[in-house]
């Protein structure tokens, strides 16, 4: 029998250019889905604002201590990015698995990690938008004074990466753990308490301070605060920046490894869709 056999594109078509387009496609999809739930994002941002104000009023005995707020606000912003990445990353992937689109999206020449990266990039934009709103509102409302903002760009960027690494790890665990939602909320609470959102980590006793440095975004917030008060050089010399870089690398690597492993496991178990 003579059959007409269609062939795919030549080798060059499945190269870096295509991979870049696939990444852009995932980011666009993530942003579209974020836009569809913009109401939830607004409510979440508002709740974060109220929680933070409540904590500050509680600590200040009914008054906001602006000196404290200047040092804890970076932690609120870091928590917001981490929450967006972890909660929405985890919830989004669980929703896609249950809905079947996660499996369908795998019928692509793109790699799973590329798709996860696109997903995370969209969540980063979502988190940063919430962060920008919170920062603008609180800074204007309480007249907070941040000096040397350009020097804080590096630790702030690394803190953002740290938060995204955490989000990637939680997203990866969603592929393996059914009750990841509850676990994520516990982790988020730990980040709020030990990440410097209530009081700066430096006021904790030595051992707790050491443990808190393991918590995502904690080292980043400390590096930002050190940079604001004493300059970027100080955060290098006191070891915060080097450890922050190590933390970022370890967390992102762990996220990538766990995601890859979890995907292989899901493919073995047929768990990309509900069975």
């Amino acid at each position: 029998m003579t059959a007409v056999m269609p062939r795919a594109l030549p080798r060059t078509a499945v190269g870096p250019v295509l991979q870049a387009r696939l990444l852009g496609n995932e980011i666009t999809k993530g942003l579209r889905l974020a836009w569809r739930r913009k109401g939830m994002i607004v409510v979440g941002t508002g709740l974060n604002l109220l929680t933070y104000l409540g904590i500050n009023l509680f600590i200040g005995g009914g008054h906001v201590i602006t000196g404290l707020m200047v040092r804890t606000l970076p932690a609120l912003l870091a928590v917001t990015v981490a929450q967006a990445a972890a909660v929405n990353g985890s919830g989004g992937i669980a929703e896609e698995i249950n809905g079947g689109t996660f499996a369908h999206a795998r019928l692509s020449p793109g790699s799973p990690l590329l798709q996860a990266t696109g997903r995370l990039a969209a969540l980063a934009v979502e988190g940063l938008l919430s962060t920008a709103v919170l920062a603008a509102v609180l800074t204007a409302w309480f007249g907070l004074d941040y000096t040397g903002p350009s020097a804080t760009v590096l630790p702030a960027a690394l803190t953002g990466l740290d938060a995204l690494g955490y989000g990637l790890l939680i997203t990866a665990l969603t592929l393996r753990i059914n009750s990841i939602g509850a676990i994520t909320h516990v982790f988020n609470m730990v980040i709020m308490f030990f990440g410097g959102m209530l009081v700066p980590v430096t006021v904790f006793p030595g051992p707790i301070q050491m443990v808190s440095h393991l918590v995502p975004t904690s080292l980043g917030v400390q590096a930002i605060n050190t940079t604001i008060t004493s300059g970027l050089a100080a955060s290098w010399t006191d070891g915060t920046m080097p450890w922050l870089i190590v933390h970022c690398v370890v967390l992102i690597s762990a996220g990538l490894v766990v995601y890859s492993t979890a995907m292989r496991h899901a493919l073995r178990e047929g768990a990309l869709t509900p069975r």
């Binding site: 795919a8 499945v14 496609n25 579209r32 569809r36 020449p109 493919l267 178990e269």
Partner: protein, 334 residues
């Protein structure tokens, strides 16, 4: 389109499955879902994969499209090995998976098609005309900017099929595409799939529980899977012919209970309130004798024909007969 070239070959197979098997779990908890299976599907053919729930249809389809890692064997799709050339293999496939949404409900049909087109490596300029053609063809053009979640089930399934076809793949894997659709939507779907097969020469692997309406009418070939094992794989006509019975079926109008006593030995009857059916052994003399008798009694004849089993009957026989012989064509195991 992503299908850049078309090559004429003598032995090209759209899907080639060799010793493909899947066992979930290990040790004492090991549960075979698909026993080592060899199957091939030439270009342009429609294969109906039938089986009861839990027989392994969906697992087999998911292994073919790379969504489940097999424990044994290999898959080639469009000539590309799924393990070593996954990227290229993926460009050959469009799929509608069983019982899932397949598309993003919060996004519009238009946004979904843009996403799934880009997912296959197409550019927006390539996707838009194709998306417009598909949406117009499926009567969704006017509502293309509405969220898919607001559509009816039939419309949502249309978007899923459009998404599967957005890069014009030569191979379609349709796992229960008519599941949950009302009669009208299912009929529309069946016609659409028939057109894809007959006019666009798509290679289609189809699973369905609508055996007569969908499988028998659409499939060139039928494979029946039972407990993870393909027990039959034959061209549809050949399968039905092999199960054809050497007997006549006479249909009469009305409920004619009084006829039963006058029929020859070996005759069977089925009587309901508006139709009487009589089956006779393949004996011309006996048939004419019964027809004479029916004429004398004034019974109103509706039809007389050689009794052919429906695909449903064949399917049930194969499933419920543990000794059913494996009926596999040469083509299937090539």
């Amino acid at each position: 389109m992503i299908r850049a070239t078309t090559t004429s070959v003598d032995d090209g197979l759209a899907i080639e499955v060799t010793g493909l098997g899947k066992t979930y779990g290990r040790g004492a908890t090991a549960r075979p879902a698909v026993r080592p299976t060899t199957l091939s599907l030439p270009w342009g053919q429609v294969l109906g994969l039938l089986g009861p729930n839990g027989a392994g249809k969906t697992t087999l389809i998911k292994m073919i499209c790379g969504l489940v890692t097999p424990t044994a064997g290999s898959v080639r799709v469009g000539g590309w090995d799924l393990t070593t050339d996954r990227s290229r293999a993926m460009l050959q496939i469009g799929a509608v998976l069983e019982g899932s949404r397949n598309v993003y409900w919060p996004m519009s049909a238009w946004e979904n098609l843009l996403y799934f087109g880009r997912l296959k490596g197409l550019r927006a300029a390539q996707i838009k005309p194709r998306a417009e053609h598909l949406l117009r063809d499926l009567d969704l053009w006017e509502r293309r900017h509405e969220q898919v979640g607001s559509y009816s089930r039939g419309m949502q399934q249309k978007v899923a099929v459009a998404a599967a076809l957005i890069n014009d793949p030569p191979i379609l894997l349709l796992d229960e595409p008519t599941l949950g659709l009302d009669v009208e939507s299912a009929l529309t779907f069946k016609e659409w799939i028939a057109r894809l097969a007959r006019e666009e020469h798509k290679t289609i692997l189809l699973t369905t529980h609508h055996l007569h309406d969908v499988a028998q009418e659409l499939a060139d070939r039928i494979a029946v899977i039972r407990s993870g094992e393909i027990i039959t794989d034959l061209p549809t006509r050949e399968l039905l012919a092999r199960h054809a019975e050497d007997r006549w079926e006479i249909r009469l109008a009305g409920s004619l209970d009084h006829l039963v006593g006058a029929l020859p030995g070996g005759a069977q009857t089925s009587i309901d309130h508006n139709e009487t059916r009589i089956w006779l052994p393949d004996n011309q003399a006996g048939l004419y004798a019964v027809l004479d008798h029916l004429r004398d009694t004034g019974a109103r004849l509706v039809s007389v024909e050689k009794s052919m089993p429906s695909l449903e009957e064949v399917f049930l026989r194969l499933l419920h007969d543990p000794a059913a012989p494996a009926l596999v064509s040469k083509e299937a195991t090539r």
